[in-house]
Amino acid sequence: MASDIPLNWFLYFAAASFSIGLVGVLIRRNAIAVLMAIEIMLNAANVNLVAFWRYGNAPAGAGPLPGVILALFVITVAAAEVAVGIGLILLCYRRWHAADVDRYDSMSG
């Protein structure tokens, strides 16, 4: 299937999603919402990886699927990160009775 979508469009979409995720990390106070914004950023990076895999020519010795495998590992690490992050947030919630990141200030001087 010879598609006509330029590579740039995928890159612009990923860049816009990444910026939205960054704004979300900065303006959110709830820790779980911050985690969600981080997931948006990771997904934007995955779109970039797969787009470059499909539009580019893999160098010799890289195998047929370099971008897809890297995206696969990103998904794996993101899943582990969410599991541990939710555990930590639950622990902090039991301790401080709040899920806001600016309430966790017991180490600030």
């Binding site: 999603s17 960054l22 539009y55």
Partner: protein, 226 residues
Amino acid sequence: MVQFLFLVIAALGLLTALGTVLARNLVHAALFLVAFFFTVACQFVLLEAEFLAALQVLVYIGAVAIILMFGIMLTRNIQGDDTTIVSGAWKIPALMAGLCVFGVLVFGINNAVAPAGQSPWSESNMRPSIAADAGSSKATAVRREAVNNMARTVGNELMTRYVVGFEVAGLLLTVALVGAIALAHREEDAPDAPSRGEQPARRASASPRPQAAGPSLVASEASPPN
């Protein structure tokens, strides 16, 4: 036609991402996030990576979104939903930072430099062919096999070329599982939330048993994958 489809999906994706970031109600934000994951899966389909799209739906929508939902339910904010976004004075620098990053990325995309003798990748609007009769070079055959039979190719690659990364990812998932269980297990000793004054004494008296149980559990569980 495909371009129109892409524009619709991208617009939906950006709108749902904005909804995730801006929705005051956290449950609404999580539902917007599910929609965003689905649009990313649609992008993968447009990029002819259907296996990755299926994986995206299974892992992100099926597991990550559900975990986030459980987290939201268990840490329901006492003060209501008004405090999920920072106060107005901090919104402007955050928006400025986001716009600056977006500007830098767009600048980089538009001004890509190319190796000598090639056109820059930012101008490429045609994918490498996977047609069966297009000259049928070896690279085309490999790419066609990878696109049309992606699940098998991914399995072969994970077992041969990326076997070290595969094992490390398995170890990471095991450690994350054990860590999450250890984090959640410690709360069992203090079911009723104590007040702040007596908390250090309680934790000091209750700490030896979980501290002794935690490392041994981790060590015994993490050693078999090695």
